[in-house]
Symmetry: C2
Subunit: 423 residues, 2 copies
């Protein structure tokens, strides 16, 4: 039933029936959660063999190197090689971090603030009224870092093929616009992937700030769910064409390949950028955990093996995405009051409800015992200007809980829309 | 033979004999290294059982928590408990980090620069002509962090009982003096420990800056070599007496308990300080590796077990310290041109040669194929004003190499002194 086209009587009737259904759910005193963008334990069990096999002395002392000791500062060469092959980036441009790519991003950002970049006329902290482009809906932790560091956050709407590039190209004419957050593949939470055209425009656009930087958080770079995953152009290739290699800081990790709490993160950047970073990195840490890198190399082996592993993980996630979408489709597809994404990978489905009702949906869900990601979390300053976006994270809960949560969600979305329309 | 009291003839004769001995060493084309402050592989083998035993699924999923996943942001409670018991610090004031306490220190410092502390009227980056106290000889990476961040480094001479507190108390009257680096126990490189009086004076002194901070790097807090180790007063206890708990940022790690490259680091601070840090920590990382914490808890067990482990490590280090000191004693003890420390713990012996000759000793050693820590590295800006201090790191090389290196060193020290006196 298309709620937008229905008459008042039909809506009143539907509302009463939904209200009844809702009260029945509520009476069950549920405690469910659709907010957690993390794998369930069954997914993690696929990587358990990494822990089940001990690291022997021969594993950790070889080739004249004792990996238990200090040294090998930029990462175990085989770990670099694996990332290099997976993402087609030269090993010499890769630095292996700890268990968190977010930490590498934050650390880079702090370095830029205090010391600037390889191309900076001054540290970023000295740029008055500094601004940052935030593609929204997007990742709250990204936005939070730049908010805390005193950037004015500028919202760039996310389109099907990536950020609204007309707007981006307009904003970068301002020399106080210093960069942009990007999750280019299976973006959080929209699940879409930047087109080649968007990647090229990001690489080629004229930026007034000589030290403009793209924080390219390729967190879901190999995280396909569909058999035929999305294609993302290698941004370094594009930058090479336009002579803008210094523009990109690239990040990824194995958080959603192996373990979210104990994976291996990496960053990649041009020679200039890495040389600039090096002089500060060596003052800031004794280097990252090489033994965990050895564990990863042994378990992940090579790109083919990684892709096979990701296919198994993808199948487990697909089951949950399919279930979610099939339930949404039953009552929301033709409702006129909801649109949602059907990603080929990643961790999230983005649901747009009738403008002005997202918070009401959130509250109804809360009251019925289902936690959603806070409304606004996907926007700069935590404010969704249209009060319409909800981020769904189907991966963590069980299939039964997911099914129940989604059913309640479809009720809440329609109730909220009708309330808005006729009350 | 006391070189200072010998006549010219005797010195000339001694020099010729030393020169001959030196040339013989040189002819061997040696490649030795006394510069590396890290354990040897035999020491690390004591911790190998931690890696030999796999982490089973029951180890990593228990008590309703899947430690392989996100969450448990501030560290596994049992890891906090162990540090709490070892250092008599409340668990609630402990935050568990990654594999590098240096990283936690750098991160704290960057946070202070950009956001200030719980007591700051403004971020440190806004303090013009900011200054930092550096106890010297000290740890080069400490000095480097504050140098890079634009602090003027002020040298505080290290005395037998810790920093020259008269000088410290004088300097902290300046509101632009924002803090001090301290390695309070078995200090790098002098190996001495701060007396209770020094700890109390640090806790009680009147600081003009309301946000003055002591970076208390207790890296060698339980690293005794002698049977009766040094005693270090708990600085938090002292601060509580004087109401200055916010003054201290405490750091330590298992780098030299388990593995330098894959240990567990921690920081401890007052409630105010930790609450202040929390709001930034959650934006800066997804949390640290909990699986490595679980490995450590299982291997280290409890304080008694840790102390027994440290005794075994201490015995291995003692053998090398004893060898070093016995060789130095043979010709340098009564030479009048060298003094050196006899630490009860830690990793270093500090050797003061005749002022104005340390660089010459370094060069002679280099020429004979023995690498020493660069002269000046233990001082702010890398400059030893008297050109006299050498940091000896006996732990990494084999006993045979150590013996040979030390013998050449005694030759080089005496040669350099005589050259200075009579040429």
């Amino acid at each position: 039933m298309n709620i937008l086209k229905a008459n008042r009587e039909a809506l009143t009737e539907l509302y009463q029936s939904l209200r009844k259904e809702y009260e029945e759910y509520k009476a069950q005193n549920l405690s469910l959660d659709l907010s957690r963008g993390k794998p369930d334990s069954l997914q993690l069990d696929l990587t358990q063999p990494m822990l089940d096999t001990p690291l022997t002395r021969d594993d950790v002392v070889n080739g004249g190197i004792d990996y238990r000791n200090y040294g090998v500062f930029e990462g175990v060469p085989a770990m670099k090689k694996l990332f290099s092959e997976l993402f087609s980036i030269d090993e010499n441009n890769i630095f292996i971090g700890g268990n968190s790519s977010l930490q590498l991003m934050y650390d880079t950002m702090m370095r830029c603030m205090m010391f600037g970049t390889a191309d900076s006329p001054r540290p970023w902290v000295q740029v008055d009224k500094r601004k940052w482009l935030c593609v929204a809906p997007g990742y709250d932790r990204h936005f939070l870092i730049t908010e805390k560091l005193g950037f004015e956050l500028i919202t760039i709407p996310m389109r099907a093929d990536g950020p609204d590039m007309d707007l981006v190209e307009e904003y970068v004419k301002d020399p106080s616009v210093l960069g942009i957050w990007c999750v280019p593949k299976y973006s959080n939470p929209t699940g879409n992937t930047y087109s080649d055209t968007v990647v090229r425009r990001l690489a080629s656009m004229k930026c007034a700030a000589p030290d403009f930087r793209i924080f390219w958080d390729n967190a879901y770079g190999i995280h396909d769910i569909a058999e035929e995953g999305d294609h993302l152009m290698n941004i370094f290739d594009a930058c090479k064409e336009y002579g803008t290699e210094n523009r990109v800081f690239f990040y990824t990790s194995t958080s959603k390949i192996t373990f979210p709490g104990a994976g291996v993160a990496m960053m990649a950047m041009s020679d200039d950028n890495l040389n600039h970073a090096r002089s500060y990195l060596s003052a800031s840490t004794i280097g990252y955990d090489k033994l965990n890198q050895l564990r990863h190399i042994r378990f992940l082996k090579n790109p083919e093996h990684v892709r096979a592993h990701m296919r198994r993980l993808g199948d487990m996630i697909k089951e949950k995405f399919d279930l979610t979408l099939s339930i949404l489709d039953q009552t929301l597809l033709d409702s006129g009051v909801a649109t949602y994404t059907r990603p080929n990978g990643g961790y999230f489905i983005s649901l747009d409800v009738m403008p002005g009702t997202a918070k009401r949906v959130y509250d109804l869900m809360k009251e019925a015992g289902v936690t959603l990601t806070k409304v606004g979390a996907t926007y700069p300053y935590g404010i969704d200007p249209e009060d319409k976006n909800l981020r769904l994270a189907p991966t963590y809960c069980t299939l039964a809980d997911l099914s129940l949560s989604c059913k309640i969600l479809t009720v809440a979305v329609r109730m909220s829309a009708i309330e808005k329309l006729i009350f």
